[in-house]
């Protein structure tokens, strides 16, 4: 009943096509993230769902109801704005009570509801403060409370944590997850920050700069099984290799020029998987084992020279130069206080990985 269906959504701004026949279904009651780079149209999509913009083509469904022509104030969709858009002349109470006040809900019920919701966001002590006296994090929670008090079907959040510092952001993410759990409202969370998206989302959609949806799935699916190189590169970091497939009876290989043959696992049911076809291989840096010694038990191996080492505390990032001049990124978790092996600049190293841990991509 609170599922959002976007059907063939088209949107233009001054003759520029932002969204072109976009289709997306956001399941009911989920925390859904919309992730993409700046300019990908994700905010536009959000505003279309809220009703602030009109679609140039297509329809929007909320549950069974077609809400495409329904005006903003009649949609059971509420928004948390990026700059909060709190009413400056109202205090916290009046801001939060607004949605109920404009529907002429009786005063005592309003008071009850406001206190309740402010308790949920831990602001009950600031109830009569002017909003200019609040910190950024507090203002953000007022915006949240204001938007959920009348129990909307869908809550849209437009990069709500962008203005907060890192520690506060991490804390708020957890609070948001708890809030969504408690309310069971569908949350649609727009962000360009993959960390946020991966943290909060039950499912997420990745959009590219052309306003198209690259992939929809759970954070795990997106991260471990990206379907395009855009997704592989945008979410987390990766090494992309191009090569030719060599399919044999017992084993399949990717032939990469100048580097050799590497064992791969073929994805099932893909039209672009064929012998002699050119495909891409995505190998994430953390899936690589780096060592100066020869190790057994790995499907694949590459040789190279260490070009840079960056120490990140809990992990170390290496950049290794291959003989075809390609630069490979490797993450090593610093599991040991006194590492058994010291890898240094200009060292010759071997990089090992299992064939199960790569993803083959068409483009």
């Amino acid at each position: 009943m609170r599922e959002i269906r976007l059907v063939n959504i088209t949107k233009k701004f001054n003759d520029e096509l932002i969204l072109d026949k976009l289709n997306l279904t956001i399941p009911s009651g989920e925390f859904f993230a919309l992730l993409g780079p700046s300019g990908s149209g994700k905010t536009t999509l959000l505003r279309l769902i809220a009703g602030f913009e009109h679609v140039d083509g297509g329809s929007i469904f909320l549950g069974k109801k077609n809400i495409t022509q329904v005006p903003i104030n009649e949609r059971k969709v509420n928004t948390v704005f990026q700059n909060y858009a709190l009413f400056p002349h109202f205090n916290v109470f009046d801001n939060v009570a607004y949605a109920l006040k404009v529907r002429n809900v009786p005063k005592d019920i309003i008071e009850q509801s406001v206190i309740q919701i402010l308790q949920k966001v831990h602001l009950e002590k600031q109830i009569y403060k002017s909003i200019t006296q609040l910190s950024g994090g507090q203002q953000q929670r007022v915006a949240l409370a204001r938007a959920v008090i009348n129990k909307p079907d869908v809550l849209l959040l437009d990069e709500p944590l962008a203005a907060l510092d890192l520690k506060l952001r991490e804390k708020m993410l957890v609070e948001l997850i708890e809030l969504q759990d408690a309310l069971e409202t569908t949350f649609v969370y727009v962000t360009h920050d993959q960390f946020e998206a991966l943290t909060v989302a039950d499912r997420m959609a990745i959009m590219n700069q052309n306003g198209q949806i690259e992939q929809v799935g759970t954070p795990e699916e997106i991260y471990e099984f990206p379907r395009t190189s855009f997704v592989a590169k945008f979410v987390g970091s990766t090494n992309i290799f191009r090569g030719t497939l060599k399919i044999e009876e017992k084993e399949s290989y990717l032939k990469i020029d100048d580097l050799g043959m590497f064992k791969v696992l073929l994805p099932k049911h893909k039209a672009w998987v064929c012998d002699d076809c050119t495909v891409l291989m995505s190998l994430r840096p953390e899936k690589i084992e780096i060592s100066k010694k020869k190790l057994e038990g790995f499907s694949n191996c590459l040789e190279g020279i260490v070009e840079s080492i960056v120490y990140h505390g809990r992990s170390t990032q290496y950049h290794v130069r291959l003989k075809n001049d390609f630069l490979v990124k490797v993450f090593e978790q610093n599991e040991e206080h006194f590492p058994q092996e010291e890898i240094d600049y200009d060292d010759k190293v071997f990089m090992y990985w299992q064939k199960e841990n790569v993803v083959l991509l068409e483009k």
Binding site: A50, G51, F52, P71, I72, N73, E74, V77, N78, T79, F81, N83, A85, L86, F87, P88, H89, Y98, A99, K101, V102, R103, R146, A147, N150
Partner: protein, 286 residues
């Protein structure tokens, strides 16, 4: 502020004198004469300009019904002018701030233009419209709304009409400024939370524009109170307002002392009215 602190170290005290002409000018030609005016209102002539001859005679002469009528008339003119200006200005300011995108600057320019143009020229321009043989009457006659031309010039109606249109920009500008500072996202938020356009206007837009409305009100009220040109040119000489009365005292009868007293009295009344209006605003809107 950082700026001022560094500039302070940089400017030495002896430069104080270089900076002072402007302040001295104000003091010499504004504040001292003001006190002077208040002072001479208690005297009858320059010959007897000493403490012994301080008198309230001037004020006694003025505290009569005819003078009260003049002051009252001026107050009503200023007050209602401000109200009429508000009624016409708010929609214009709203339209310019929230509805126009492309031609905003051009429209603002044309609105600001009469602001800086001589009132006299504007009043004269209205003669053509309001005259017995003027355009308004011709239009009404042609349309058959009236059978005989109306006498509009030299009546209070003419004064109110011309005051209204001359002071319109004074009210539009401040309201426009405060409306343009509005965060449009708050308006979107209001709709998002379920408010109708009217609810959004009365709960959010209008309250947030109140400071502009107040500024505009005073920008119109205070000058209108002492307006001289418009009532003089359009009043036909029969109706006296504060402006014309002051001119009468100082220029026609040269009774500087009586004039000073009248000016002070009017000034007091102006301050009282201004405070009254401030109180009114607080009562109605806070």
């Amino acid at each position: 502020m950082k700026n001022s602190r560094l500039k302070k170290e940089f400017i030495k005290e002896r430069q104080f004198f270089l900076a002072s002409p402007a302040i001295l000018w104000q003091i010499l030609f504004l504040y001292i004469p003001l006190l002077f005016l208040i002072g001479i209102s208690f005297f009858r002539s320059f010959e007897y300009f000493s403490i012994k001859h301080v008198t309230l005679d001037n004020y006694k002469v003025l505290l009569t019904l005819s003078y009260a009528k003049i002051i009252g008339r001026s107050f009503l003119l200023a007050f209602f002018n401000a109200i009429f200006c508000f009624i016409l200005s708010y929609p214009v300011a709203y339209f310019l701030a929230l509805r126009v995108r492309r031609f905003k600057h051009i429209l603002l320019f044309f609105l600001a233009l009469p602001f800086w143009t001589n009132f006299i020229v504007q009043v004269y321009a209205w003669f053509f419209i309001l005259d017995y043989h003027g355009l308004l009457n011709s239009f009404f006659l042609k349309m058959g709304i009236i059978s005989q031309p109306l006498h509009i010039l030299n009546t209070p109606i003419a004064i109110y009409i011309v005051m209204l249109f001359c002071y319109l920009p004074f009210m539009v500008m401040p309201i426009y400024t405060s409306l343009s500072k509005l965060d449009t996202f708050t308006l979107e938020a209001s709709f998002d939370l379920g408010a109708t356009p009217w609810q959004t206007f009365s709960n959010i837009t209008f309250p947030l524009s109140l400071s502009g409305v107040q500024t505009g009100f005073f920008l119109v009220f205070i000058p209108s109170f002492g307006e001289f040109v418009i009532p003089t040119l359009l009043g036909g000489g029969k109706l006296m307002f504060i402006g014309s009365m002051i001119s009468y005292f100082f220029l026609e009868t040269r009774s500087v002392f009586l004039g000073a007293a009248f000016t002070c009295l009017s000034g007091l009344f102006l301050i009282a009215s201004a405070l009254f209006i401030l109180w009114l605003f607080k009562k109605l809107f806070r």
